[in-house]
Amino acid sequence: MEVQNLNLTLKVWRQKGPKEQGHFETYSLQNISPNSSFLEMMDVLNEQLINEGKEPVAFDHDCREGICGMCSMYINGEAHGPDDHVTTCQLHMRKFKDGDTITVEPWRSAGFPVIKDLIVDRSAFDKIMQAGGFVSVNTGGVPDGNAIPIPKPNADEAMDAASCIGCGACVATCKNGSAMLFVSAKVSQLALLPQGKVEAARRAKAMVAKMDELGFGNCTNTGACEAECPKGVSITNIARLNREFLCAKFVD
């Protein structure tokens, strides 16, 4: 079970602050276990930098089990790196070879300005959610959970859409910086359920309007978002969003 450890060269984007000019720095890293995660490799780099008296690389991360959506990073030209359906924290070093040079960049999109190094500001997603990503119910006074049966296929499809973790890989990957996959996931989830259907039209209009206002680009159906989505959210959700939105607009 002996596994060979990796020696790597890292090309990492460093940027002091939002308004500062960024640049790449190159670091070399020895003896990384292929069983460590990409972020654990970054931890080793930071430990090394701190010991050299330098500033560690700032990057977003939290749960480290692929669900909080906090970790980002564009690794070797792909959001969340070269493995399918994973977040960066679930990407393991066994996907790389000894001697590799790894390029690490922040998400780049007008909607996600860089805060520092690899950390970007994704608060635009919260603003879109605040515009309409909810069912308007207050706490209390709701019917029994089983009052309205929901066909299993609909519940399952809603769940698939709802698995979006809001990481922003879709925007980061899209050549248009479009947030349609993110928006469509929420619109789809709620439009598929009777509880959310009631205000589906209002929701679709409000969320799309907010998305446009925040400067995200237009979807041109390249499907790159779906390919890089760590949760495999399908672009058929975008078709549903289009449908919901257009129907809503035509009855206005």
Partner: protein, 645 residues
């Protein structure tokens, strides 16, 4: 100043909560917007509390250290949420959920709180369904349930293996709606640094903006801490990297009692440690124990051969596999509560039957696949299997998973009364941050239930009862008086950290703390070990304050400073955990003292001496804290030695 009265309402257990609500004080709608409420944390408890209070019309400010409230670690809960709906007609009831929770908690929780929790559990499911949480459903379109450890009924609602995520996103959507409406103001990437107490009442908090480093003060007529647990004191845990105990610790140092810190839950099914650079442990949902069978090799030589890579799990014949949980606990088998399952795994590994680096046992799905077919297993656990394979490179459909216990949840926390109010008036604690409902051990799928119960259905009532008397308290100037003083203290604390300028990274000290904790204050505790642990923690703390290195400055985004601030608190909190464990000379739930066990190696409680909540009061730096005891009265259940045989 501090009031130490659990304030349990009068009446029969079944009526206490109704009685409370019927007689509590309310605030009229026009006055609500004059009252400010601060909610720290945006997980299940925080988001649901902030949203519900916002809906009522209070002026709410909500804080989280992450970049969005949706990232709170509640999101990582996989398995499910309990409720006493009895949709399965298998004999469930509010009382049974209450009873299971009390028993699962090894009779160290407050009856009234737990009953209320069981009572509102059903409302939670209804609320979440109404929000559009896509719970799993059967073909008839009705809600599906699964069974979970520690219960004989099937009462767990779930959304694939992402129940926590879906519930949190439900609460987040409710919170987002209120933010959009302007009733809640959200502060992201903002960490609470301290609370502000004015004339004996909590009146606000001081925060640090994690992007700019700015120190601000915020006024609130009431402050709710929903800041989660302190499991990261062990460094390696299933908690998020940022999860910390600092908010609770700051409250403790300002006079809030800290209850039962030694009750730490170790989750039996986590992916084993792979190496020294490991940063966290990943939990595999407990629901896996429904269909997976746990075993270790019967022969030590087989275990050794597997460790050395000479044999594989599949090479071990059926008769040489020791299904030790089924052997020891025939009635519950693989579904015994978490503490029992964890200790049993440790017992096997300590005796040399562990695999991997000696720190793992098998969780095998071969039998489930034979019984149910691969399709059914995939439908139930597909995403968990995929996750396991991504991490370990092993395919669980073909080779058994390797699992080992890891720190997961902390039952202990800030002491609160029935109203979830701490010993500082105006300061409340909800969710994992408080100590209230799980006793010495939490059952699976109960954390989500408690977080949401506190946030949606308890806090909005009890906080209002407090606020009704605060109508005439004017909003305070946060630039003078006590607010200015606390701000100055916080700045001084940060300066002190920045000025150490030592040579050791924060993480390396944190890792060493974790080793001490796991070694001496972990799954099996002894008097000598705990004393040694306390000594080592004290030494490490001194070293931290002499030798930690924090690069950069305090006036910018500085991750190392954030971590240092949290680890400084962990270095104190760790000692309190050890002290509490040392004083509690019994074994119960997540606290196992090796001196107190039955002949079969089960936890042995000392009900005559320790049937109380141990609440610690801070007495000053380097002064021993004072222990207060809240006697637990069991009027409605009979204290029994837990028996899962």
């Amino acid at each position: 100043m501090a009031t130490f009265d659990s304030k349990i309402p009068e009446g029969h257990l079944f009526e206490k909560w109704s009685n409370y609500k019927a007689h509590q004080k309310l605030v009229n709608p026009a006055n609500k917007r004059k009252l400010d409420v601060i909610v720290v944390g945006s997980g299940l408890a925080g988001a649901s509390a902030a949203a519900s209070l916002g809906e009522l019309g209070f002026n709410v400010k909500c804080f989280c250290y992450q970049d969005s409230p949706r990232r709170a670690h509640s999101i990582a809960a996989q398995g499910g949420i309990n409720a006493a709906k009895n949709y399965q007609n298998d004999g469930d009831s509010v009382y049974r959920l209450f009873y299971d929770t009390i028993k699962g908690g090894d009779y160290r929780a407050r009856e009234a709180n737990v009953y209320r929790l069981a009572e509102v559990s059903n409302n939670i499911i209804d609320q979440c369904v109404a929000q559009g949480v896509p719970f799993a459903r059967d073909y008839g379109g009705l809600l599906a349930n699964r069974s979970f450890g520690g219960a004989q009924v099937s009462r767990t609602f779930y959304a694939k293996g992402q129940t926590g995520q879906q519930l949190l996103l439900g609460a987040y959507s409710a919170l987002s709606r209120q933010i959009g409406k302007g009733t809640v103001k959200m502060y992201t990437r903002t960490e609470m640094m301290d609370i502000v107490v004015v004339d004996g009442k909590c009146r606000g908090i001081v925060t640090r903006n994690l992007i700019t480093g700015e120190i601000d003060a915020h006024f609130g007529h009431a402050v709710i801490l929903a800041t989660g647990g302190y499991g990261n004191v062990f460094f390696l845990s299933t908690n998020a990297m940022g999860s910390n105990g600092s908010a609770a610790w700051k409250a403790y140092k300002k006079g809030a009692y800290f209850a039962n810190p030694c009750y730490v839950q170790i989750h039996p099914t986590c992916i084993p440690v792979h190496g020294e650079f490991q940063s966290k442990l990943t939990l595999m949902s407990e629901s896996l124990r429904n269909d997976g069978r746990i075993w270790a090799p019967k022969k030590a030589e087989d275990a050794q051969a597997i460790r050395e890579g000479k044999k594989k799990a599949s090479d071990i014949p059926e008769e040489d596999r020791d299904f030790y949980l089924e052997r020891r606990y025939p009635a519950f088998g693989n579904l015994v509560p978490r503490d029992v399952a964890s200790r049993a795994a440790k017992e096997r590994c300590d005796h040399g039957f562990g695999v991997e680096n000696g720190g793992a046992v098998f969780l095998d799905f071969k039998y489930a696949i034979e019984r149910l077919g691969k399709d059914v297993v995939e439908a139930r656990y597909g995403n968990l299997f995929q996750m396991y394979e991504k991490i370990t490179n092993d395919n669980p459909y073909e080779t058994p998973m390797k699992i080992y216990p890891a720190i997961h949840y902390t039952m202990g926390g800030i002491w609160v009364d029935y109203e979830l109010q701490t010993t500082i008036p105006g300061l409340f604690a909800a969710g994992e941050a408080n100590f209230s409902d799980h006793g010495a051990n939490r059952l699976g799928a109960s954390a989500l239930m408690q977080g949401l119960a506190d946030g949606y259905f308890v806090i909005p009532y009890t906080v209002q009862n407090y606020l009704a008397d605060e109508l005439h308290t004017p909003r305070m100037d946060t630039n003078s008086g006590e607010f200015a003083k606390v701000k100055a203290d916080v700045k001084a604390h940060i300066d002190e950290l920045m000025n150490i300028k030592g040579t050791e990274s924060v993480d390396s000290i944190h890792k060493r703390l974790g080793h001490i904790m796991w070694e001496h204050v972990g799954m099996g505790r002894t008097k000598e070990g705990l004393q040694e642990g306390i000594k080592q923690i004290q030494e490490l703390r001194a070293e931290f304050w002499k030798n930690v290195r924090i690069p950069g400055s305090a006036n910018e985004l500085n991750v190392e400073l954030e971590k240092a601030n949290r680890v400084a608190d962990f270095l104190e909190l760790g000692e309190l955990i050890a002290r509490d464990a040392l004083h509690r000379e019994e074994s119960c739930g997540g606290h196992f003292r090796e001196e107190y066990q039955t002949e079969e190696g089960e936890a042995l409680r000392q009900d005559d001496k320790f049937a109380y909540v141990g609440a610690w009061e801070y007495k000053g730096k380097d002064v021993e804290p004072e222990l207060h005891k809240e006697e637990l009265k069991f009027e409605f259940v009979e204290l029994k030695q837990r028996n899962y045989k």
